[in-house]
């Protein structure tokens, strides 16, 4: 099995800072079976095809080896990221009801001023410092504050759910054990988070329903049968974690990439191109995305022939989104960071029915964050390149990003 070594290297923590040359190697075999029997797909056309292939399921309960593992742990059904249509679609519609179009088209747009206020506050707090950690002092607290407000989760509870959330991210790391072991761990953490949300709901039981997403979830809406309480808990937990552990990496990867491409940083700082920041965000999602792979999240309901390989029914499949987004089949000169690409159909948020639910939130968060950092940090310099990385090969990003600065400029009007 020639493919195994490159795959093992990709998973190995020592390659976290720059896995891209390994992805080039990986793409030479678009679909390969690796040591643990699962299939790894790394080329753009094949990943796109599989994201839209109804013979792939996101419901792990189809796998015989998952045995009795049911959902998100004792008493919790699977959250919708682990369900297939039609159940997946129904829950996604219910969650969207109070979040975006068609029912609440302006909700995220209405959050933009608030996002800017949060960002401005976090950067104001850096005044007087000459060395800052972009991760701990900025990129982590910002999206956490946003998602907490959206779900009406008390910000003070943060230490409690951060530990749970960390545990969940840990088990998404395929190097931390077999899929069944990890799933058992995951269930435990989810159950804890579910309990936490259960407490929140109970505490609110006798108050009038607020406008937060969570309160809306218990109501029926849009002609769909409402979720059960257990479903609400499982999906609230998913939103909290997903809103927590992804955008931090996009912002951090973004700052790192801008510091490595000072000409782009400078264009952002000058602020003369109103559409530049949006294109920088999309190019980051292609070039340095937070989600590198969807580790064994899919399984095959039937034999699938693709790129000359037959993936038999009942196989586990890993899609290496970050390798696909660097495939020359997507865009010329893929290893160059170029926000001016005319066409950028990246895989940063996945694709098909599971396309990232939080994308409309993560985009403006990152756009505002990077714009404000570019415009307010005077003469930022990387302290270490590469910075230290988190272990996880799937959800990849720096653990810290230390930057030296001369000063913090006041916010522009």
């Amino acid at each position: 099995m020639t493919g195994s070594s490159v795959w093992q290297q990709i998973l190995d923590h020592s390659h976290r800072a720059d896995p891209y040359p390994l992805y080039t190697e990986l793409r030479k075999t678009p679909v390969r079976q690796v040591e643990d029997g699962s299939y790894v797909v790394s080329t753009y056309p094949e990943i796109v095809a599989l994201l839209h292939d109804p013979r792939l399921s996101s419901d792990l309960r189809h796998l015989p080896e998952m045995g009795t593992v049911s959902g998100e742990g004792p008493g919790l059904p699977p959250s919708f990221i682990r369900l297939d249509p039609p159940e997946h679609d129904r829950i996604r519609r219910l969650l969207t009801w109070d979040f975006g179009p068609p029912h609440r088209p302006g909700r995220v747009d209405g959050m933009l001023p608030d996002m800017r206020v949060i960002v401005t506050g976090l950067i104001d707090d850096l005044v007087g410092k000459t060395r800052v950690d972009i991760v701990d002092e900025f990129a982590y607290p910002f999206p956490v504050t946003v998602i907490c407000r959206l779900l009406d989760v008390p910000r003070e509870d943060e230490p409690r759910f951060q530990a749970l959330s960390d545990a969940l991210i840990q088990v998404a790391d395929p190097t931390t054990g077999s899929i069944t072991e990890r799933d058992r761990q995951r269930n435990k953490a989810m159950a804890n988070l579910g309990q936490y949300f259960g407490g929140l709901l109970d505490a609110r039981a006798d108050q009038p329903a607020g406008d937060d997403l969570l309160s809306g979830l218990l109501r029926a809406s849009g002609g769909d049968e409402p979720m059960t309480r257990a479903q609400v808990l499982a999906n609230a937990a998913l939103l909290l974690v997903a809103g927590h552990e992804t955008t931090v990496n996009l912002i951090t990867n973004g700052m790192l990439t801008l510091l490595r491409h000072p000409e782009v940083l400078d264009r952002l700082r000058r602020g003369e191109e109103p559409d530049l920041a949006a294109r920088v965000v999309e190019e980051l999602l292609r070039y340095e995305p937070p989600v590198h792979l969807l580790p064994e999240t899919r399984n095959t309901l039937d034999d699938i022939e693709i790129a000359g390989v037959t993936i038999p029914a009942g196989s586990r499949v890993t899609l290496v989104l970050a390798a696909g987004s660097r495939d020359p089949a997507l865009t010329p000169d893929p290893d160059r960071f170029d926000p001016d690409r005319a066409h950028n159909e990246h895989l940063g948020f996945g694709g098909g029915v599971h396309y990232c639910f939080g994308a409309p939130l993560a985009r403006p968060e990152t756009r505002i964050a990077l714009t404000e950092l570019a415009q307010r940090l005077r003469n930022p310099r990387l302290v270490a390149d590469p910075p230290p990385y988190r272990a996880n090969p799937g959800l990849r990003g720096p653990r810290h990003l230390f930057v030296d600065i001369d000063a913090v400029d006041p916010a522009r009007p």
Binding site: P54, V108, D275, A278, N344, Y355
Partner: protein, 533 residues
């Protein structure tokens, strides 16, 4: 500013509607309606939507465009281009404009003339029967965006009346002759009028193809008519009926066929559409024809007599009877042009009356008919936005490329229609089928995929609010995968069995796809002359 969404590509991810909620609006799960002419104040939000669209389906006009030549496209240049000094495009609409911009993008530096009989700059038609009628976009605002202001000699408001192939000249109505080295025919089609001329002239009897048509109808609908009659339940008729209901206007839709959309999708899926329209309060009558439209002394439409014996009071009637191809100006030119359009090869080169391919004349868009290998090399005549764009791009590329670098137009036919909160999408040729099956989704919820088969292979797929799956089925069509599909997928209904597709034996007058000329008896070189159907 100008905005256009390639709804053939759009999969309803709604990212645009999050980013610029005043410009892009979702209906239901994935139907998108947008304003093609939003104020400049929306530019920043729209640029974010453009960047965010996961399938990069949104186009806007940009000053100083940051367009780049991809290495692939600039390679076509060279000697071939040297010999071509003048290109003339007849038909200044979607296909014509797209061809012009590709010619310039690929580096054609000679003179480029666009001849169009409409006085407008090129505009987009699909919004005319959708967001324009309900007042979400203005009829005059659907002007197509241009990426870069390219150098074109516009001859708008002047029809071409003839083509002199030998002398390489296009003859204009004002007597002028325009010389060309290469030319593109992109004259599209026009709406078929109500056949009885006096009734067609009544105040209140409309068709819909142009912004004037759409604006006129919008005003009539906004004025609160007592009842609207839609004649013909093809895509256009169905969209007009949906707009009426959206405006809470009473509407009767009649069709002589068994169900709405049956001409294009077969009666099985047509009956599902029928239920959808009835659920929204349309008085739908199938197997019924309008026998007469009658007016009052002032020439205003008053009532309609139907073949089911009823007479109804109506003040607006929309004739959605399909279309007529704009080929009259080519009479006598020696090309294989007739009621089904102008024949061309897969490289978009026009075929002459003897069946010989010409070198200098190309065809694209609704006026073209071309052989498609997936459908037994039969000639397809399509009335699809996506086809006009794809074919224009290939025609333009081939016009300035040497033989060895020419491309073939092999894309599968694709189109969409937006009705109420349903986004209906099709890939392949649904009328090229003997059976249909629904392997995914729920008919009751109107969220499903239907797959069509012909003699044991998959030939088409139609999705109601399930467009994210469609490209999978397109792949199956391209591979001639066996029908019925037998694999296991997500969201399979409990019982999946194929039934007769009930597609029309002969193309009906509202089909948006027709496969023409397939029986040996029809294969002759005499050309059909007027009257056109």
């Amino acid at each position: 500013m100008k905005v256009i969404v390639d709804l053939t590509r759009c999969q309803g991810y709604a990212q645009c509607a999050f980013a610029a909620p005043e410009v892009f609006a979702m209906r239901g799960d994935e139907a998108l309606l947008y304003d093609s002419d939003p104020g400049q104040g929306q530019r920043e939000r729209i640029e974010r939507a453009v960047a965010a669209c996961p399938v990069q389906a949104i186009l806007v006009d940009r000053e100083g465009g940051r367009h780049r030549l991809s290495p692939e496209t600039s390679r076509g240049l060279g000697e071939e281009m040297e010999r071509i000094g003048r290109i003339v495009i007849v038909g200044a609409s979607l296909a014509g404009l797209r061809a012009a911009s590709v010619l310039r993008r690929e580096g054609f530096a000679g003179s480029l003339t666009m001849i169009g009989d409409e006085a407008h700059p090129p505009y987009d038609r699909p919004p005319l029967s959708k967001q324009v009628l309900i007042g979400r976009a203005s009829a005059q605002g659907t002007v197509l965006p241009r990426h870069d202001e390219f150098d074109v000699r516009w001859r708008l408001g002047v029809p071409a009346t003839g083509l002199d192939l030998g002398g390489k000249q296009v003859i204009l109505a004002d007597g002028q002759r325009v010389r060309f080295d290469r030319m593109l025919i992109a004259t599209g089609l026009r709406a078929r009028a109500w056949p009885k001329e006096t009734a067609a002239g009544l105040d209140g009897v409309c068709t819909i193809r142009t912004p004037e048509d759409a604006e006129g109808l919008r005003r009539r609908l906004a004025a609160g008519p007592s009842r609207v009659l839609v004649i013909g339940a093809g895509f256009t008729g169905c969209e007009v009926a949906a707009a009426c209901r959206e405006l809470d206007v009473l509407v009767t839709m009649v069709d002589r066929g068994p169900a709405p959309l049956a001409g294009a999708l077969g009666a099985v899926i047509g009956r599902i559409a029928a239920q959808m329209h009835r659920d929204h309060g349309v008085d739908l009558r199938c197997g019924v024809q309008v026998e007469a439209l009658e007016g009052d002394r002032d020439g205003r439409l008053r009532r309609a007599r139907l073949s089911d014996g009823t007479t109804m009071e109506v003040d607006v009637a929309v004739a959605a009877l399909g279309s007529v191809r704009n080929v009259e100006w080519l009479e006598g030119a020696g090309l294989a042009a007739g009621p089904w359009g102008v024949a061309c090869d897969a490289g978009c080169r026009a075929v002459d009356a003897n069946g010989v391919v010409t070198d200098d004349v190309f065809v694209a868009g609704d006026v073209a008919r071309f052989p498609h290998p997936v459908y037994g090399f039969q000639y397809l005549a399509l009335e699809h936005w996506g086809n006009a764009v794809a074919q224009a791009e290939i025609a333009a590329h081939n016009m300035i490329s040497p033989q060895s670098r020419r491309w073939a137009h092999l894309a599968l036919p694709e189109f969409w229609s937006t009705q109420y909160d349903a986004e209906i999408k099709s890939v392949g040729v649904p009328t090229y089928a003997d059976q249909v099956v629904i392997p995914q989704g729920s008919v009751a919820q109107r969220r499903f995929v239907a797959v069509y088969g012909y003699r044991g292979r998959i030939t088409a797929a139609v999705a109601f609010n399930q467009s994210k799956w469609l490209e999978f089925y397109a792949g199956l069509i391209n591979q001639a995968a066996p029908f019925p599909p037998s694999f296991r997928t997500v969201d399979q209904p409990p019982d999946v069995h194929p039934v007769p597709a009930e597609v029309p034996v002969r193309p009906t007058y509202q089909a948006t796809v027709v496969v023409t000329g397939h029986t040996p008896g029809q294969r002759r070189a005499t050309l059909v002359r007027r009257p056109y159907l």
